[in-house]
């Protein structure tokens, strides 16, 4: 509802952007206020309507844990959780998230106090360069919640039955998170350990 009205406002302002462009005035581009919580903390921002949620986090809130691998929804490096659901944060505009609760990698744990999934990634060496890692970890946490919630996947034999925690399930559900370093085998080990805990 709120996101919808945000989009509508952005749309009505679009002609303004064009007019500025062609008239050549160095007027500031249209901005909108937006507020949401990130990792439990209130954030109030006034943003250029073109700012993605990913860039709001990385550039405006200095939460650079979420990575930009492609900016086009192709790699999963920017995965965060919005109201408990994982999304590619590069694929939505920040102003769509009025009132949302956002959890990023920084909200899961800190170097001195790792979330169990973060600790499992360290233990199983579920990364190499580390650039896909925050996205993998956010995705992994959300994946386990999705399985627990009974959300079906394409690798289930019986789509009406409760999905199980299996390596095949994890691989299917994690396939939106590319790891070019190729840590997949270890990542599945890490998630499996947490799932079994």
């Amino acid at each position: 509802m709120l996101a919808g009205s945000g989009a509508a406002v952005a749309l009505t302002q679009a002609p303004g952007v064009q007019a500025q462009g062609s008239s050549g005035g160095a007027a500031t581009p249209p901005t909108m206020p937006v507020s949401f919580t990130v990792n439990g903390k209130e954030a109030e921002l006034t943003l250029d309507t073109r700012v993605t949620l990913l860039d709001a986090l990385r550039e405006h809130l200095e939460l650079t844990g979420s990575k930009k691998g492609c900016d086009h929804g192709q790699c999963g490096a920017c995965t965060v959780m919005v109201n408990g659901t994982r999304i590619n944060s590069c694929l939505s505009l920040a102003v769509q998230h009025q009132g949302d609760e956002i959890t990023t990698i920084e909200g899961l744990g800190t170097p001195d106090n790792l979330h169990p999934m973060q600790a499992a990634f360290v233990k199983h060496d579920g990364y190499q360069c580390g650039y896909c890692t925050p996205g993998q970890i956010c995705s992994a946490v959300a994946t386990l919640a999705e399985i627990r919630a009974g959300i079906p996947s394409h690798v289930q034999d019986d789509i009406t039955a409760a999905p199980a925690f299996s390596a095949a399930e994890l691989r299917e559900r994690m396939s939106g998170n590319i790891c070019r370093c190729g840590a997949y085998s270890n990542i599945v080990d890490a998630i499996t350990e947490v799932a079994g805990a």
């Binding site: 700012v51 650079t64 990698i105 744990g109 590319i178 070019r180």
Partner: protein, 739 residues
């Protein structure tokens, strides 16, 4: 320290810390998103320099020709724009190290998405929008883009892989005669595709000027090379350039060199008088930078009925920009198998595609995909087990110089151990026999081979007042585990627990290391730290009045005779040294070996390939850290699956670009493509390699994997596809009839 003789016993041999499975010391930073990658070093908390602006690169829309005109008026007036640098206002920059493509400057376009402008603005959105307002008129020229068309005119490359010197061919014995007489032969042509590094972190840099001095915070594998390279391109003294690259989100060879992000950040920052931060947008990466060139390869093998190779031919043709290198796909073939009559060479076709350059295991990756498929074909013709065929043709000496032995070579053990672990004896040698429901199941194997390179590497170690240690070197960690193995090396040498060692990497102000590339990083950079630690041990012992030659460093103490002291008693001390090498690598061929095994299932209805099991048995000297080494190998195995099954930059032969230039169009393996992977390391420390007795594994893990997958597919289907990647369209029509 000069390493001129085989290493004797040294403190590393204790293996209290070195060689032990050790979690990465940078793991807590990486898993919490707090490791600072290049594009993230902004803002009040982790900013490296205030007042940063954003840069956005515009790439050329033609592959060859000239920029006739650029209209930047509208862009310059757009909101937030601070300045624009166009290629027309900048003379062509001299080439950087290792690169033949035009990085920036001048009207001439030599490859698609060559950078032609950079726009600086207050925000990313403003810079991006303004870049799209620049109007460019081109004079387009015809280009040469299709390797198959160009191949007939390709010329034999010189020994350095270029077209400058004498054509170079390995010619030993009488290949033609032996091949004609051989009772069993294989003669086939194969192709491998253009591939993209597709590292997850795009090229990124922040540049800031302070008078004459330039600092670039960047993402780069080779700090010392790149410092010199950037200075050369910008016409500066190297001492006025500083690079800093503590975390690198993958490189795979793409970040060996200085690319447009760093250069344009520097030019842009000068133009607008403010620091500039640029991340190259993903859709520009494949065409603006470099890739692994496609190859057309021919293999001719002649053997006696017992499998002994009598005639061996391997040749490869690849393309590159004028002045570029050949893809050295026959490199391993000079050393891998014994055969008295040999003919090996490479051809280069000049083209106008984006630059071909080093990508993980350059040469061996595509070369072994082909050679090891040909060996599989030969084994079948001989009615011989593919593992046995490799074993029969093993050599312990350089086949071109039989007086030159390998320092260590246990390929046979890799293969036998692998066969045993994998259950190779359950493989049906006759293809297309094993079914599991709708799936055709097969097993394949291949040899992995990659040389180990000795190269100088320096480090500084500082003993702190509290007895802890700091290691400083410009070495990089591109996911390889450098932070951890350097800490392990220093801890072992100084008798300290791992958590008493801090490692600082990637700063060009620190001693120049081997850098990360060609799987030379681990062995050489740890040897550099070893050398510095030997010096520090001497300094500490002398300070404490002990005999340096007998002092033992254990548990934070130094002991000599019946005296002992805490390390901290020595106070603050610093030592710097580098490892250098004599000619042991000339006397002995130093290489790494693997046996790769793979099981696949092919859907008999759709031709879809699923990889079910993978095993690598590796010999690479002492394994410094089995955890990070294993990760290097499984990463290589994963990339090998990509090469075998899906990776291909598709060439638009009309317009001269790679069409699928993003992570949606360029497919790499995802979770669902990769099974559990098993890795076994053989324990054969190589005392002729370096004081650590270690060699690299980062590329070995990839070498041969593609062929193991391909051979497994053949074993499953009975259909031989010689054109990589083996996408289902290439074998679907020929699959066995579904009953």
């Amino acid at each position: 320290m000069k390493f001129e003789q085989a290493a004797g016993t040294n403190p590393i041999d204790r293996q209290k810390i070195i060689g032990q499975p050790t979690s990465r010391i940078d793991g807590p930073l990486k898993t919490t998103g707090t490791a600072p990658y290049a594009h993230e070093r902004h803002g009040p908390n982790h900013g490296v320099v205030p007042n940063q602006s954003y840069g956005y690169i515009l790439g050329a829309g033609i592959a060859k020709g000239r920029v006739a005109s650029m209209d930047t008026q509208e862009a310059a007036r757009a909101p937030g724009v601070l300045g624009i640098v166009t290629t027309l206002e900048q003379e062509l920059l001299p080439p950087g190290q290792g690169i033949v493509a035009n990085i920036f400057g001048g009207a001439e376009i030599r490859h698609y998405h060559q950078a032609i402008a950079v726009v600086m603005a207050e925000t990313f959105e403003q810079a991006r929008a303004a870049a799209n307002m620049i109007r460019v008129d081109y004079d387009r020229a015809d280009g040469r883009f299709d390797l198959a068309t160009l191949a007939p005119q390709a010329r034999v490359a010189d020994e350095s892989g270029k077209l400058k010197g004498e054509p170079f061919k390995v010619e030993v014995g009488d290949f033609a005669g032996a091949f004609a007489e051989a009772p069993v032969t294989v003669d086939a042509t194969y192709t491998t595709a253009d591939e993209s590094h597709a590292m997850m972190e795009p090229f990124a840099s922040i540049a800031a000027w302070e008078g004459e001095k330039l600092t670039v915070w960047t993402s780069n594998q080779m700090i010392a090379w790149s410092k010199g390279s950037l200075a050369k391109m910008l016409g500066m003294k190297p001492e006025n350039v500083r690079l800093d690259s503590p975390f690198i989100g993958g490189g795979f060879g793409a970040k060996l060199w200085v690319r447009a992000d760093a250069v344009l950040a520097a030019l842009g920052a000068k133009k607008v008088g403010r620091p500039v931060r640029i991340a190259m947008q993903r859709p520009l990466v494949a065409n603006n930078t470099s890739h692994r060139p496609a190859t057309i390869q021919q293999v001719k093998l002649g053997a006696t009925p017992d499998g002994r190779l009598t005639a061996f031919h391997h040749s490869s043709t690849s393309g590159n920009l004028p002045g570029g290198d050949v893809e050295v796909a026959t490199q391993q073939s000079r050393l891998l198998y014994a055969a008295p009559n040999r003919e090996i060479f490479m051809k280069l076709a000049v083209n106008d595609l984006p630059e071909g350059n080093a990508m993980r295991a350059p040469g061996e990756a595509p070369g072994l995909m082909v050679l090891e498929m040909a060996m599989d074909e030969l084994a079948e013709k001989l009615g011989m087990d593919p593992v046995e065929l490799r074993i029969v043709n093993d050599t312990q000496v350089d086949p071109e110089k039989p007086e030159r032995p390998f320092s260590e070579r246990h390929l046979v053990e890799c293969l036998r151990r692998g066969a045993e672990e994998f259950g190779w004896n359950r493989r049906n040698p006759k293809p297309a026999q094993v079914r599991d429901g709708r799936w055709l199941v097969g097993m394949g194997m291949a040899t992995g081979f990659r040389n180990s390179m000795a190269t100088k590497s320096a480090a500084r170690v500082r003993l702190q007042r509290d007895g802890s240690l700091v290691v400083e070197t410009d070495m990089t960690d591109i996911g390889t585990g450098t932070y951890t193995i350097l800490a392990q090396t220093a801890a072992e040498m100084m008798g300290l627990p791992l958590d008493r060692v801090t490692v600082r990497l990637g700063d060009s102000d620190d001693p120049a290391s081997a850098g990360s590339g060609g799987q030379w990083g681990a062995a050489n950079s740890t040897s550099g730290v070893y050398a510095a630690c030997v010096k520090l041990r001497t300094a500490i012992a002398e300070k404490l009045g002990m005999d340096p030659t007998t002092a033992d460093f254990t548990d934070g103490e130094v002991r000599a005779g019946n005296r002992s002291a805490r390390l901290s008693d020595a106070g603050e001390l610093m030592a710097e040294d580098r490892i250098e090498f004599g000619d042991l690598d000339k006397q002995y061929q130093q290489s790494t070996f693997a046996g790769h095994f793979c099981e696949v299932a092919v859907d008999s209805y759709t031709g879809e390939v699923r990889v079910h099991r993978m095993l690598a048995v590796c010999e690479a000297g002492r394994i410094l850290n089995p955890v990070t080494a294993r990760s290097q190998v499984i990463g290589g195995m994963t990339m090998g699956v990509g090469s075998a099954l899906m990776e291909e930059l598709a060439v638009d032969t009309r317009f001269g670009l790679f069409v699928n230039h993003d992570l949606a169009g360029y497919e790499v393996p995802v979770h669902a493509d990769i099974p559990h992977q098993q890795v076994i390391f053989l324990d054969h420390p190589d005392d002729k390699a370096n004081p650590l007795k270690a060699k690299g594994v980062g590329e070995l893990g990839l070498c041969g994997v593609g062929a193991a997958v391909a051979n497994a597919i053949y074993n499953a289907t009975g259909v031989r596809v010689r054109d990589y990647p083996i996408t289902l369209d290439k074998h679907l029509e020929k699959l066995p009839q579904v009953a």
